[in-house]
């Protein structure tokens, strides 16, 4: 097990013990939410993991680095940023996906752009966001997020 996994589990366990001491009923409620969210996310995790397996084996590494690698330049970054903005998958799963893209030759810039747009921009949730926040605020937030995603990605490409 990797240290990050150990850390998060120990941390969760400590919080859980403190919670149990403080309030049993509330802790039970929390655990029900945890189990429900876990069940809810498992199919998506499995889909992504199967796709990652297929992606790494069936798409030749040359292909991914041609589309989103260093030499693909701005168009590769833009392509991944756009896919991140459109796709609707939990950000939790974007990390292994990003890692597998990196492994198969995508550039840091492109992967960073993908992860930032994926987490910050919700095209599918946009109607709800407009309804709750108004058109101006929702569109500004998503639009400017796209621009800053590109800026963050380029800075990361330079420093990493």
């Amino acid at each position: 097990m990797h240290s990050a996994a150990i850390f998060i589990n120990i941390f969760a366990l400590i919080c859980l013990i403190i919670a149990l001491i403080k309030d049993k009923a509330k802790t039970k409620q929390s655990l029900i939410i945890a189990v429900k969210s876990f069940i809810r996310i498992i199919p998506t995790v499995l889909i992504m993991i199967l796709l990652i397996g297929l992606l790494l084996e069936f798409v030749p590494p040359g292909e991914i680095s041609r589309i989103a690698g260093e030499q693909s330049g701005f168009s590769g970054v833009l392509l991944l940023a756009l896919s991140g903005a459109i796709m609707h998958i939990p950000s939790l799963i974007s990390f292994p996906l990003g890692a597998s893209l990196l492994e198969s030759g995508a550039s840091v810039t492109a992967v960073a752009a993908f992860i930032v747009t994926l987490t910050m921009i919700g095209t599918i949730t946009l109607p709800l966001e407009i309804k709750e926040l108004g058109k101006k605020m929702a569109l500004l937030r998503n639009g400017i997020s796209f621009i800053i995603a590109l800026v963050i990605a380029f800075i990361m490409g330079v420093i990493l």
Binding site: M1, H2, A4, A5, F7, I8, N9, F11, A12, L13, C15, L16, T27, S30, L31, I33, A34, S37, I39, R40, I41, P43, V45, L46, I47, I49, L50, I52, G53, L54, L56, E57, F58, P90, S91, L92, F95, P96, G98, V108, V111, A112, I115, V116, T119, M120, L128, E132, L133, K136, M137, L140, R141, I144, S145, I148, I152, I155, M156, L160
Partner: protein, 190 residues
């Protein structure tokens, strides 16, 4: 409203299971056409699965605990009345708490607007909620490494704050413009 959410959740679950089935079928077909790739694909998928399955319980338990112990009302109450650097820090902190997906935060943001919270705080809160989550950072650390995680975290915080302040100014400016236009009209009427 709550029933509606449950219904949606259920539908989403069914959709995901169907997609999973289709993916599995595609995988089986592909792997029976290319049997030599079978081992590599299953090993890769299995390794990723093991990584995820070890890290997920902790993430989910933390999410559950925070969802119950830090209710929405508390967040709205505190964010609604603070501003300045304190407001910004609070917005990031609350946003980073390990709780639910983006769509449950929009009603909270709407409640914040009604309470008269600053636009910058709302934007920063929303964006932090979307892309900085404490347990998820552990997953990012695991898969993309410390440097990637830290760089993305720090840059995101900086730019999200800039964006929040910028959007606030922009909205003030455009509101003023609208006010001027309507004022002009009022004068013309007189």
């Amino acid at each position: 409203m709550k029933e509606n959410m449950k219904e949606k959740q259920k539908k989403g679950m069914i959709r995901d299971v169907i997609i999973l089935g289709i993916t599995l079928i595609i995988m089986v077909i592909l792997l029976s056409i290319f049997p030599d790739k079978r081992e590599v694909v299953t090993t890769t998928s299995r390794d990723f699965f093991i990584e995820m399955i070890w890290i997920l319980p902790g993430v989910m338990v933390l999410m559950g605990l925070f969802a119950v112990w830090v209710p929405k009302e508390v967040i709205v109450k505190y964010l609604g009345k603070t501003s300045g650097i304190k407001g910004i820090s609070l917005a990031i902190l609350f946003g980073a708490l390990p709780t639910g997906p983006l769509y449950i935060v929009f009603p909270m943001a709407a409640a914040l607007i009604k309470k008269g919270a600053r636009v910058s705080n709302i934007i920063i809160f929303l964006s932090a909620w979307a892309c900085i989550k404490i347990p998820q950072e552990m997953v990012e650390l695991r898969f993309l490494g410390l440097k990637f995680m830290l760089a993305r975290l720090i840059l995101t915080i900086i730019f999200v704050i800039i964006m929040g302040v910028f959007i606030e100014q922009l909205m003030k400016w455009s509101d003023k413009k609208v006010n001027k236009v309507t004022e002009g009209k009022d004068n013309a009427d007189v």
